[in-house]
C-alpha cells in the first residue's frame, strides 16, 4: 500500500501550545520520512526529516516521533507561534526511487 494517511485535516492551536500532526503508513519498505511546510503562495519546503532507525529527531521547536512497530510518525511543534500557521505535509519515500508519497496535508492555524 503506497499511501500515507495524515490527520487531522485542520488544527487550531493557541499561541504557546503544542501542535501535533499524525501520519500512518502500511508499506514497511519506506525508508525516509520528511515533513514539508507550505505557506500560502509558496511551494512546500522541507522542515525536518527522519529515517526509521531513529525514534525521535528534534530541530528547535520541531520534533518528529517515529514508531516503527506501529508504522506511525508524528510532528510536534512546541511553543507554537502565529508564524507557524501553514499547511504541513508528511511524506515517505521508497528505497531505489526518488518519488515521495505525501499525506493529504494539515492546515495549522496558531491564534495570537
Amino acid at each position: 500500500q503506497q499511501q500515507v494517511k495524515q490527520s487531522p485535516q485542520s488544527l487550531i492551536v493557541q499561541k504557546g501550545g503544542i501542535s501535533i500532526i499524525n501520519c500512518a503508513y502500511e508499506n514497511t519498505a519506506f525508508d525516509y520520512f520528511p515533513w514539508y511546510q507550505q505557506f500560502p503562495g509558496k511551494g512546500p519546503a522541507l522542515l525536518i526529516a527522519i529515517r526509521p532507525d531513529v525514534s525521535e529527531k528534534k530541530e528547535g521547536r520541531f520534533t518528529i516521533s517515529f514508531n516503527k512497530s506501529a508504522k506511525q510518525f508524528s510532528l510536534h511543534i512546541m511553543d507554537s507561534q502565529p508564524g507557524d500557521s501553514a499547511t504541513y505535509f508528511c511524506a515517505a519515500s521508497i528505497p531505489g526511487t526518488y518519488k515521495y508519497i505525501f499525506g493529504t496535508g494539515t492546515r495549522l492555524k496558531v491564534l495570537a
Binding site: 485535516q9 522541507l46 526529516a49 519515500s93 531505489g96 526511487t97 526518488y98 518519488k99 493529504t104 496535508g105
Partner: protein, 116 residues
C-alpha cells in the same frame, strides 16, 4: 541561489484547450520532479527526470500529459486536451544529483490550473 521557478503562476483554460507549464530547476540539479495536488488531496507524484531522461513516469495520469526536459535544463508539462479533472496545483521540484532519495527536494511555488 535562485530557487525553483514555475510559469505561469495561474492558468484558466476551457475544457479541450491545451496548456503548457514550465519549470526551471535550481542550477546544477539533475533531478527534476513534477507533482500535482488536487484540492484538499495529497500531493501526488507525476514523474521524475534525471537530466533529460525520464526516470520514472509511473504517476502520469494518461497520455494527455506530456513532459519534456530539453537539454536537461528546464522542463515543460503539456496537457492536451485539458479535462475538468486536470484542475489542481502543479508543483515542480528539483534535487541535487547525489544522495538518492534522501536528498532534499526543493519545490517551486506551483502553477494553479483551472479547467472550466
Amino acid at each position: 541561489e535562485a530557487g525553483v521557478t514555475q510559469f505561469p503562476s495561474h492558468s484558466v483554460i476551457e475544457k479541450g484547450q491545451t496548456v503548457t507549464l514550465r519549470c526551471d530547476p535550481i542550477s546544477g540539479h539533475d533531478n527534476l520532479y513534477w507533482y500535482r495536488r488536487v484540492m484538499g488531496k495529497e500531493i501526488k507524484f507525476l514523474l521524475h527526470f534525471v537530466k533529460e531522461s525520464k526516470q520514472d513516469e509511473s504517476g502520469m495520469p494518461n497520455n494527455r500529459f506530456l513532459a519534456e526536459r530539453t537539454g536537461g535544463t528546464y522542463s515543460t508539462l503539456k496537457v492536451q486536451p485539458a479535462e475538468l479533472e486536470d484542475s489542481g496545483v502543479y508543483f515542480c521540484a528539483s534535487s541535487h544529483p547525489s544522495g538518492g532519495s534522501y536528498n532534499e527536494q526543493f519545490f517551486g511555488p506551483g502553477t494553479r490550473l483551472t479547467v472550466l
